[in-house]
Amino acid sequence: MNRLACVLALSWSAAPACAPLEANQITPLDPRGQLMRASMDLLGTRPTEDELVIIDEQPELYPAFVDLWLQTPAFEERLRSVWNLRLLTRTGEVGFDPAEAGIEGVDERAIAASLADEPLRLLSWIARHDRPLTELVTADYTVADQAVARMWDVEIPGFGGWEPGRYADGRPHAGVLSMTTLWQRYPSAGGNANRHRANAVSRLLLCDDYLDRPIAFARSDVEAVASDPEETIRSTPACQSCHATLDPLAAHFYGFWGDEEGLREATLYRPERELLWMEHGGAAPAYYGTPTSNLVELGQQIAEDPRFVDCAVRTAVEGFTQRSLGPADWSEVQALRLAFEEGGLTLRALVRAIVTSETYLAGDAADADLRARLATVRRVSPDQLAGVVEGLTGYRWTIDGRDALTDPNVGLITLAGGVAGDVTAPSWSPSVTLSLLHERLAWLAAWHVVRRDLVEGERLLLRRVTLDTHPDTHASEFAATVRDLLHAVRGRPLEPDSPEPARFAALFAQVYSVEGDPEAAWAAVVSAALRDPAVLFY
């Protein structure tokens, strides 16, 4: 897009649209900081110390690390986690009894987790195989594991894990547009006439929420709605400002229409119902003025819509970098879009372009506003917090057998700033509940380390000490251990003259004097180290 077009596109804003950042406005992170940031975003964990040493010595290897990490299963999970911020399918809700599908004696919530992941797994399948992202709406297959296959009646080869498959009820396949999961998540009941689903298509795939559009009804419009809503929608300009395009989108989804009860009945696609739009609103299927006849053609239209690519760029940038894009970011978004297109619309190409960009690697900026705009300091998401602490200590927080920070049924994700249930937007700010979560997690992980390393003698993190090591009698071992701990937590060695080993020795002594128990004293030391801000911010 040339500058004039760019300015016109952003004419609603007085911001300095399309103006690229000047070189001296950004101070990049050092190589170690760059690698830690990329590792957190691409893998959800810290890099190893060996990797950090390599980048210290050869900073030019940063893109190679990125390429390596983009090939990993951990990156695929991060991709799913980021895209869930838009699709919002990981709600934790269980819509059906697995027994109805003949699945007995299973964890219902594990089944629900599989079902919720159906669209996200297609996304990561596309990423893994370097397929163009347009397959998200054009794939003539779905992906399913055993749970999805049995619950939704999807035929898969059965080799294990998530595999491509096809629904057995004869529905047309158009990527996520054909997925039972998506339309169970975004149902459309009664007089809504599939409009909820149509807006979901627009919001999730085009980043355009009809509900964000301002509307102003004349008094006569309101009166007309009361007497004949559907006719009013068809004939009133105020209504048509949205419904002229929304209703033809909605008309594609009548194969999913129905109010049957029971798993099988409620989740079947019925080709014979595809023409029910004639009875509900009467708008024929079309995509913003172009007539279409089924989900496959709808998918093709979406794939060709520039907004689909823009939305993918926005989703990836905002999800991976915690930025909220505005008009001032237009030129940057266009550059990323170009890289995405030149990379064949593969997600790896897009994410690679993001994490190697100047703004991504910014460690500081010229002023506070630019720091905020570029999110030069980022906050861990719930899954990243779990990953970082597990990477440092080996402890994975579970409650009642469920992963505390990634299972939406536990109830902690929203307290950590994530999305689940009614909460549909993440919070990237520090918060009192995140502080409390961090405190509790650090304490649990600290006790795990003390038991494992000092009681059972595995000595994985606390390698230089035993339960008999007291800072008064083993000062150098204690100080070296504190240095090891904080080095691991921060990804950087302490300064030689750092007062922190002495401060932690004082903490040990204080706790020991109260509790009289070296395990408690060591737990306090490890817990304090794990509560370093470096665990939360990167």
């Binding site: 007089g191 809504n192 009166e223 817990s527 370093d532 470096a534 939360l536």
Partner: protein, 417 residues
């Protein structure tokens, strides 16, 4: 359990004393807390409630409004409502608490969609960056509280004020605060004794101070603020002995009130239970309104009998606001349900509220008519009442100048005593 005093606690006490000395007697000679000391409990019926069930007594209107079958008119002073033998809680509530309650009718939600209606009703705009009323009220508290706005359930729009919003986390919040969650975890541990906790906290504060730098100043300050709030919260919650879990609207509302009473929160949001989106069958609305007003009655009873910090009772300190994002059509549809309607009603009760009155108006067809914002009565020369005008009044009720966040928006002055 020892009580830990933190800088914030001390500051809050000092500020309260100072405010009391400055304000002197309660407003207008009443025993109400000053606006800046008022707390707000928001109750939200997600789905769109049928205003003709209680708030809009359209008996015998020319255009016809379908009221519940056993409806009968009720009136307390200038406050008119719909009651019925199948929901005696409504009449009982207004008989006991009508003098301190205002019904606001004919609020234009600017929408007939749930999502946009919720946003409009709670923020006055369609902008996704705009914080909702409780968040604005909570964020404006001169002395920040550990949990400025607690969302137990229901919607929340934090806008750019996310640090002021604490989400309830499906009941996990209290376990997290009192530390009992560590005993429920895999490889459980005992909760650290309070002195040990304080010793670790001291080191954590020092680590955070080291973390601070020019590029991280804002985040470090916000993190420090969160740490302080968390630490105070732990101490205050132990002090209060909170920990029992209660279910339902009343139980959750009382928990919210406790947090306010202890000076831990200024605002709270609680979802009103029930399926309010009654397209297919409108009858659940009657039962749900009965349950709502039963809970409101007991809530007000509790407030009226519990001493307040800044007023004789909590009833003079806590404003209760009940809202829904939409109304429902005047007539039943073919399926016995009612569809979305762009005018809704609200119930506001508490200190500073001009109680015993019905404000705003609709015609016989439940369509809003212009009103005089000073009187709340219909006026051909008046303006249509929108969600933003109600919100501006709520902000002013809480001592927040609406002109700052809602420039040019009229305040529904009639709501204010």
């Amino acid at each position: 359990m020892p009580v830990r005093l933190h800088r914030r606690t001390v500051l809050k006490g000092a500020a309260a004393a100072s405010a009391a000395a400055f304000v002197g007697l309660p407003t207008s000679g009443r025993a109400w807390a000053a606006p800046s000391d008022r707390k707000f409990l928001f109750l939200f019926a997600s789905g769109g409630w049928d205003t003709a069930q209680v708030f809009e007594p359209k008996f015998g209107g020319a255009e016809g409004v379908d009221l519940p079958p056993l409806s009968e008119p009720g009136q307390i002073g200038d406050l008119r409502f719909v009651a019925g033998p199948d929901r005696p809680e409504v009449a009982r509530y207004f008989a006991r608490w009508g003098h301190r309650s205002a019904i606001v009718n004919g609020i234009d939600t600017h929408s007939i969609g749930h999502g946009s209606g919720t946003r409009f009703v709670l923020t006055g705009t369609s902008a996704s960056t705009s914080p909702d009323w409780p968040t604005r009220l909570a964020d404006a508290d001169p002395i920040a509280l550990p949990m400025p706005h607690v969302v137990f359930s229901g919607p929340a729009f934090a806008g750019g004020l996310g640090a002021s919003v604490v989400r309830g986390g499906d009941g996990r919040l209290l376990e997290l605060i009192d530390g009992s969650i560590v005993g429920r975890s895999g490889a459980p541990a005992s909760v650290p004794a309070s002195p040990v906790d304080a010793m670790i906290d001291a080191v954590v504060h020092e680590q955070n101070a080291r973390f601070r730098g020019a590029s991280r100043a804002r985040v470090a300050a916000e993190h420090e603020e969160s740490l302080e709030r968390a630490m105070e919260l732990e101490g205050r919650l132990f002090e209060a002995g909170l920990g029992e879990t209660t279910a339902g609207l009343l139980g959750t509302a009382l928990r919210a009130v406790d947090l306010m009473r202890l000076g831990l929160a200024r605002c709270a949001m609680v979802r009103i239970p029930g399926r309010w989106d009654t397209h297919g069958d409108n009858t659940p609305q009657t039962r749900q309104f009965g349950a709502l007003f039963g809970a409101l009655d007991r809530l007000q009873e509790h407030l009226a009998t519990t001493p307040g910090d800044h007023a004789p009772t909590l009833a003079d300190e806590i404003v209760v606001v009940a809202l829904s994002e939409l109304g429902r059509t005047p007539r039943l549809n073919g399926g016995g349900g009612k569809d979305h309607w762009p005018y809704t009603s609200a119930l506001v009760a508490g200190p500073g509220v001009a109680g015993g009155r019905t404000l705003g108006a609709t015609d016989d067809g439940l369509q809003a008519v212009p009103i005089d914002f000073a009187t709340g009565r219909p006026s051909a020369a008046g303006d249509m009442l929108g969600t933003e005008h109600l919100g501006a009044a709520l902000l002013r009720l809480g001592g927040v100048d609406p002109a700052t966040s809602l420039p040019g928006v009229q305040v529904l002055r009639a709501l204010l005593a």
